[in-house]
């Protein structure tokens, strides 16, 4: 467990400088919440670069990458921070936050109860991570081998490289404490959301209560799989772009784009999320002029897309005749509905609450959160398109992935609903009023 905790601390150490380098006047919740996901990803890109350069991975290489990245980002943060406000705002603790910490503590116990047991970890994420660790680099020939198709070689590899960071620190492959990383990812995104809720509502108690309701959606039960990190990267990215849009602060959009780029490097759905965000900005009035600010996402995902293409690592969704499958599935719309009803999402009270809130606040949601709603709808559309194009049966998809795939969006959806419910309950935000910028 020491190595896992060390990796979390090291990630936070680098990440605080990275966040401050991009957003010089970031408040404390953003710095501490954004630090781990960004910080732990930076050495993963160093491992990728080392592999491409033909250099063997080692613990020394990893530690050097941590040290050099920290020095470079600290310098960048110092340079960018000149003239920025020295007084950083942050959240004010509420006694209700103890509830969130207890639930997160329970998640930590669950996440570290044993070795990783999900099939997708053993056959994909962990399998590739272990293979790369033993090869001391990314073995593209192994990925491209037809016998290894079951490992989904086309999936982005950020998560596997993060697992390799842990293995390099440990000096051996051991999945026993990987769950620690999932707790860190969940805690990180919750801290960001908690800060936004308090800034928007002006009430630490309501913000804490809202965050308590969000904990289960950040704490992904799919340990070892990409959902947990993807939820953290994707939700943080979308919320930061939303914050940048609402507060007219382009640096927040840039940092959001960094998170989105990391989401795209985590799972293919992260890539479509970037497109959904771009579309959301295009339909959000002032957002149009900020679309170009998503460039970090493009820069971060480009290397993997190029490598995937060079090595011919194709997704099974694109194999054979895609159009034929789409048409075939579209001919059976009833099958969609049957499968949906056969494999319900669970948590009926929660979904009832969401439905009531959406009906009650539809006008407000469209006015205040057109961007986020568009992102949710477009990303959901991408999920449906993937199901239609899939070589597997619709029933198979609903049975094995429906709840898990939707969990990628549930935190975002719950956040936007909770945020608007709090505003409605408080009645504190007047029609057309800008959200006050507590950091300004």
């Amino acid at each position: 467990v020491t190595a896992a905790l060390l990796l979390v601390v090291a990630g936070i150490a680098i990440g605080t400088f990275a966040v401050r380098a991009v957003v010089p006047d970031a408040d404390r919740t953003l710095i501490w919440g954004g630090a781990f996901p960004v910080g732990v990803s930076i050495p993963a890109f160093v491992l990728l670069a080392a592999s491409l350069a033909g250099a063997d991975w080692s613990r020394g290489l990893l530690i050097a990458s941590f040290a050099l990245a920290t020095i470079a980002l600290a310098a960048a943060a110092r340079l960018r921070g000149r003239g920025a406000s020295e007084r950083r705002s942050g959240l004010t603790a509420s006694w209700i936050d103890a509830g969130s910490l207890i639930v997160l503590g329970g998640y930590a116990v669950y996440a570290t109860a044993g070795p990783m047991a999900e099939f997708d970890f053993l056959a994909m994420w962990g399998m590739k991570g272990k293979e790369f660790f033993l090869s001391r680099g990314i073995d593209f020939a192994w990925l491209a081998h037809p016998w290894n198709q079951y490992t989904h070689p086309d999936y982005p590899i950020l998560l596997t490289l993060i697992y390799d960071e842990l293995a390099l620190l440990q000096g051996s492959w051991d999945d026993r404490w990987i769950g620690v990383l999932f707790v860190a990812f969940a805690g990180s995104v919750l801290l960001i959301l908690r800060g936004v809720l308090e800034r928007e509502s002006g009430s630490k108690h309501l913000a804490a209560l809202g965050t308590l309701g969000l904990v289960p959606f950040a704490a992904s039960p799919y340990l070892g799989m990409a959902e947990g990190p993807l939820i953290a990267f994707g939700t943080s990215g979308v919320i930061l772009v939303r914050e940048g849009l609402r507060r007219g602060q382009s640096s927040l959009v840039t940092l959001g784009a960094v998170f989105l780029g990391l989401a795209a490097n985590t799972k293919n759905e992260g890539l479509t999320l970037c497109l959904a965000v771009a579309f959301g900005l295009l339909v959000s009035g002032e957002g149009r002029r900020l679309v170009w600010r998503l460039w970090p996402a493009v820069v971060l995902i480009a290397p993997w897309l190029v490598l995937r293409s060079i090595h011919g690592l194709q997704t099974d969704l694109m194999g054979g005749s895609v159009l034929e499958r789409v048409v075939s599935h579209l001919r059976e719309p009833a099958l969609f509905l049957e499968s949906m009803s056969r494999y319900p999402l669970g948590k009926p009270l929660f979904w009832t609450g969401v439905a009531i809130a959406v009906v009650l606040l539809l006008g407000r949601l469209v006015r205040r959160d057109r961007f986020l709603l568009t992102v949710l709808v477009v990303q959901f559309g991408f999920f449906m398109a993937a199901y239609l194009a899939s070589p597997h049966s619709i029933d198979w998809h609903f049975r094995y992935s429906w709840e898990r795939v939707l969990s990628q969006l549930t935190l975002m959806l719950a956040f936007v609903v909770v945020s608007n419910l709090i505003a409605a309950i408080r009645g504190s935000v007047r029609e057309g009023e800008h959200i006050p910028d507590a950091a300004g």
């Binding site: 329970g106 053993l122 272990k130 309701g213 009650l360 606040l361 719950a414 009645g427």
Partner: protein, 150 residues
Amino acid sequence: VSEGVGSRWHRGLAVAAFALILIGGFESHYIRVLFSDRSAAEEFFRELPYRKLPGYRQLLLDAANLVPEGSRVAFWMPEARWQGGYRYGFERSGYFLAGRQPVPLIDSSDQFREDNLGKSEWIICWRCEVPFPGFETVWRGAAGSVAKRT
């Protein structure tokens, strides 16, 4: 005038929706687990991925001690069918055998792959002895055996 929801009625519904989201979204498992038996949970998670092939995890661990890295190793089981357990076993073998190349002897159409057998250097047999000529069983355990090409 607050934009809010405009009326007490609307505000009441907003409070109700908020409460439903809080209560309905709550994951009680993350509280119950605080009082659970951790050693039992660890054992549960350790065996969970292999529960449909009892003993398979230990068989793979034993095989990993025998089969050298870089080898091509196939998996076999009685009455092997792709969706009848073969895929389950094959796709779970690679993790413990990382560094070796797992070879499928059955494809998704349930066709036996003679060509792949020819490329295999080792075979792990769950609850069976290797039935193919040219291989010699070098290890036997409670859940199966391991054979090497002669």
